[in-house]
Symmetry: C2
């Protein structure tokens, strides 16, 4: 019997308001978009600033208490990057025991959707947001778990193929944030352009304007050895580059052609 | 005589705290990173939510009053995307005439920097943040200016090669935000790995671990025609794909090899 797919609860601040059919609350969908995003944008408030702030950080979903958990399970988000004192001292509208309220966003661009009219132009994309409370990880063992998780999130196998474990100075100088997730959502758009009927019936426009999708994907190039390198790039890196390159390209190309289930009109935009 | 390069003022909330040598406050650097980012992450606060929010939006820097302004001039940021009522009604800690305080972030990943130790791993990247006040553009002529600017930001020439101008319904249904920028900053990292001296002197580590950069860049694939398309992809699209692909690849590859001016140590991380 198939397991039930877990979903995040729909909260007023976390519910997708527009293009509802594109929305997903499935943990597996949301977590995968986060885990495959090399840079996450983390928003927080600092009471001394009139503006919200965004910091680019690295992050991966994981469970320290149950490391074998699946991507679709209830997980925490571990973040690495510069954790400023203003980021640490800030917790707007909640006690310090809750941690700092944050919003974390990740977006993948999969294609430029070129339509008959500017208004029907769109992107094929996958985006996620997570809302939760961030706290500094104080336990050295949990910090080590998170460092390995995040390092292997860049290229799987990186951790064990470098000089580990970190020494005491490295371990103490590394700041890791753990975000306990309250809710989240994803939005996904794929498929060809979906112009309005009156434009598709406009022979002049149809005979003038190319309509279709330019697939967009991330590519990794040939490894460039550094100045003190003396070894060849190992297969765990070269295999990773090959498999990522074929996956991202195939994903973008199939997204360009894939016809959406008709719920909100053709292409849903 | 060369013009002076304009810089954003350093405010407490907008100053880069770590890796100072990587920071830039030059308008030209910051605006270019924003303009070449197909998705911007826009953060704002909603008084009814305990969390800040982030929405992915499209945007371009421009000047409605002086459309010929350079990328390095004082510009506004025009944003297009779903402008929710909560986004509109929100202005935390300032009068409605100021507009809504926002932070806008854009990040480009240029390479995976693989070092001897997990701690010295890094990315080659370019990231920008802008802080400012966002207001809905009410003037139809300015909205039209922004729509053309943003459409041509996806692929230059898109506007005039589609069915334009937008009709009354399209024009009135499109929401555009104008962000008056208060300040901003950029961070840029390039170059090979920069391990600590004691690790570079560790023969066992150096003989075991590959160190170098895996260049990362955005690629655009072959255009995929949509179901009601009857024309060939035009040269303004195919030329754009070719030039973007060679530029992004060359940029990432040269960033991998480029040696930084020594200010904060090799590679500055």
């Amino acid at each position: 019997m198939p397991r039930t797919e877990l979903e995040y609860p729909k909260k007023p601040f976390g519910t997708v308001k527009r293009y509802g059919p594109r929305a997903s609350y499935a943990l597996s969908t949301i977590h995968k978009i986060i885990n495959t995003s090399p840079i996450l944008h983390v928003s927080f408030n600092d009471i001394s600033s009139p503006f919200p702030s965004i910091l680019p950080m690295l992050g991966q979903m994981g469970s320290y208490t149950r490391p074998s958990a699946d991507e679709g399970d209830v997980l925490d988000l571990y973040l690495h990057g510069y954790v400023s004192s203003r980021m640490m001292n800030t917790s707007r509208g909640s006690g310090p025991s809750d941690g700092m309220p944050v919003c974390v966003a990740a977006s993948h661009l999969d294609g430029l959707v070129m339509a008959l009219t500017p208004n029907s132009h769109s992107y094929n994309y996958r985006s996620s947001v997570l809302f939760g409370h961030a706290k500094v990880v104080e336990d050295p063992a949990e910090r080590l778990y998170a460092m390995e998780l995040i390092t292997n999130g860049v290229i799987p196998g990186s951790w064990s193929n470098t000089r580990v474990p970190p020494n005491k100075a490295e371990l103490s100088s590394t700041s890791v944030l753990k975000v306990t997730i309250e809710t989240g959502s994803a939005k996904v758009r794929f498929g060809p352009p979906g112009d309005e009927k009156h434009d598709r019936d406009d022979a002049e426009a149809v005979n003038k304007v190319w309509t279709g999708v330019v697939p967009v994907y991330r590519t990794m190039g040939e490894p460039v050895s550094g100045p003190y390198n003396v070894v060849d790039p190992p297969s765990y890196i070269t295999d990773f580059i090959k498999s990522v390159n074929s996956e991202t390209r195939e994903f973008a190309e199939s997204a360009a052609a894939r016809v959406p289930v008709k719920r909100g009109g053709p292409g849903e935009a």
